[in-house]
Amino acid sequence: MDALATNLVTVVEGIAFGLLLFTLAVGLSLVFGMMDVLNLAHGTLYLVGAYAAYALSDGSWWGLALAVVVGTVAGAAGGGLLAGMTLPLSRRGHLDQALLTLGVAFIAAELFFEAFGHEVVPTAPPEALRGSVELFGRQYPVYRLVFIAVAAVLALAVYLVFERSTLGALVRATVADREMVHAMGVDTRKVLFGVFAVGAALAAIGGTLGAPLLAPGPGIDERVLVLSLVVVVIGGLGSVRGALLGGLLIGQVQTLGVSLLPDLAPFLLFGAMLVVLAIKPAGLVPAGGRR
């Protein structure tokens, strides 16, 4: 019973972490799937949101709201900027894009370093959400439960817009066959900019809300980037459902997996990716269409 309770709490933790990964990975997945742009500055967008939370939250609801707004706007602006920078490179292959975005990530990391110092800066949630509640006989932080609820709503909203709305259909069509959409008279560049900005804003919101879970600091951008890439590879490029499934899977691998197989902890992340790729080389839920 005790071992079961321990693992149930760990499963809940995995869901929180998995949903955080979803908000991070979905933008990367769509941008890669649509624009064919490998954005290695994606982890930087997480830091934009997380540092906004650190700088602006003062323990009140207003502080959190302000941080969410600032983080979202800054993230979207960053995404738009990255879209604009990578557009001229669209015919020059992945390497040039990767170099450009990696350079942006390095410069941003150094600026964050100058502005926020070299320590991890933990961010406290609003006063009302601090403390712990009892969950399966164990203490569990209230904020993480609230985070699960909020992130689940966010994931549902993204899913509905992407899969069920006309706008979503346009985006999906652009992922599937950009030339055809363009030929039908749609300015695909606007779609691309929009998706880049929205994806970046989601990563930044993930950063703002996720800062108490994964505190910003030097090197966190790389960690987030690697985790997001793994989620995208596992879930399948350009797919919202894939990002959600991949995020939740990696969330459990990184928590329940570590709890059950602590000795294998260093290998679990990439081991899981290897297994998925061996069984489904295109990822769990590949986007339909080209390739």
């Binding site: 390095f106 991890v120 712990s132 570590v258 709890s259």
Partner: protein, 403 residues
């Protein structure tokens, strides 16, 4: 000549901003200028003593490097810019965060700046990388932090800090006698983590201590400790001994509190868990953690009161063990240079260091043992709220180590 360092720096983490880069290059050129082309001049000239200060000015160890630089400069400043009665020129080089960057900095100091002695060195990896060059060139290195357990049989490398496994050794017996039940061991999966756990077991097991489990967490990939903390809760552990430093220390301590372990399962650790900049980041979550260290900023001795208050006044920070060790490195060089009879050379300074007796320090008196590390008293500290500020408070002594 600074190119290699910048290259490794760029490769290791991030591109330094142009301005800082130029500024550093200018500083280094200005500092090193006077000694250019003076190869071999460390053999008994009448100019200032040149001391190379090799500390991180970039990368994740920058805050440690700043502490060490501040304290060393403070000592020299309080001594009217002299060490051992000679004017001193402190030449700064960036250690960076990798063995490559540290080696580049050391090479510059030893080969082109032609320093009489080197001090600093935060990273054990750097210490191992520069060991052969330091020994072959016969440059006294008064290290003020890094001291891996396998650094033995050296003639020119001294350390004013402690050997890596000593914080664990210091705590083992105390925990075995204090805690009623098995102790859970959890540490970062790299050399320092393993050294500390081994050191702890070295004194903990013979004193009758019982281990609940021994777990190493991937580093630096682990930011979420919940799965490990859940295992600790479902074990029968009566206490936890851990080793983390830097960002991982902040995450671990906060989550130890978030998941309800703090206050229920006592936490013991080498002092880095709560030393310096990580403590304010941990906040109230750190309260009640027990650590072992060779220093505590609140030690009530005349020398420490002077040192700590002067340090706080200058830098508006509590002195850390890193700062204290660097201050002592300056004291060691001060006394050794004063003791040199005849020409001031690398070898005569090194011989003088070997001949030093007891050194009066903010941590209390200590002396070098045959291995070149301190024989010193260890303290048990507890994190407590002192007038609204969280501090490491010395609550007892853990005996003397290093003999």
């Amino acid at each position: 000549m600074q190119t290699p360092r910048h290259l490794t720096r760029a490769r290791s983490r991030a591109l330094p901003p142009l301005i800082a880069c130029c500024g550093l290059a200018l500083t280094l050129t200005a500092c090193g200028g006077s000694s250019l082309g003076s190869e071999g001049s460390s053999d008994g000239d009448d100019g200032p003593v040149r001391i190379g200060l090799l500390v991180p000015q970039s990368g994740i160890y920058t805050s440690l490097g700043d502490d060490m630089k501040n304290a060393f400069e403070m000592y020299v400043d309080l001594n009217d810019g002299q060490l051992g009665g000679r004017d001193v020129e402190v030449i700064l080089a960036d250690e960076g965060e990798t063995a490559d960057s540290g080696q580049a900095g050391a090479t510059k100091l030893i080969k082109s700046d032609d320093v009489h002695a080197v001090t600093g060195v935060v990273s054990s990896a750097v210490m191992n990388a520069i060991k052969d060059m330091v020994e072959d060139d016969g440059v006294p290195l008064v290290g003020s932090n890094a001291s891996p357990t396998d650094l033995v049989d050296v003639d020119y490398i001294w350390r004013t800090s402690y050997v890596n496994d000593e914080p664990g050794i210091a705590l083992g017996e105390h925990v075995a006698n204090t805690v009623d039940g098995p102790v859970y061991l959890i540490a970062a999966d790299y050399q320092a983590g393993k050294d500390e756990i081994e050191g702890f077991k070295e004194t903990f097991l013979p004193a009758g201590g019982e281990v609940a489990d021994e777990v190493y967490t991937p580093f630096p990939a682990t930011t979420n400790f919940q799965p490990y903390l859940a295992q600790i809760q479902s074990s029968d552990a009566a206490a936890v001994f851990t080793f983390y430093a830097g960002g991982a220390a902040v995450d671990f301590v906060k989550q130890y509190d978030d998941y309800g372990l703090a206050g229920n399962i006592p936490l013991y650790a080498p002092g880095f868990l709560t030393e310096g900049g990580v403590l304010p980041a941990q906040g109230a979550s750190a309260e009640g953690i027990f650590t072992s260290m060779n220093y505590s900023a609140d030690l009530d001795t005349e020398l420490n009161n002077e040192f700590a208050s002067e340090y706080v006044e200058r830098y508006d920070l509590e002195p850390t063990t890193y700062a204290m060790a660097s201050y002592d490195a300056a004291a060691v060089l001060d006394q050794a240079i004063a003791a040199v009879d005849g020409d001031l050379t690398r070898d005569s300074i090194n011989d003088a260091i070997a001949g030093l007796g007891e050194i009066d320090s903010p941590r209390g008196p200590w002396r070098f043992n045959d291995g070149g590390t301190p024989v010193q008293t260890w303290y048990l500290r507890e994190v407590a709220d002192v007038d609204g500020d969280l501090k490491n408070v010395a609550i007892g002594e853990l005996g003397e180590l290093g003999d």
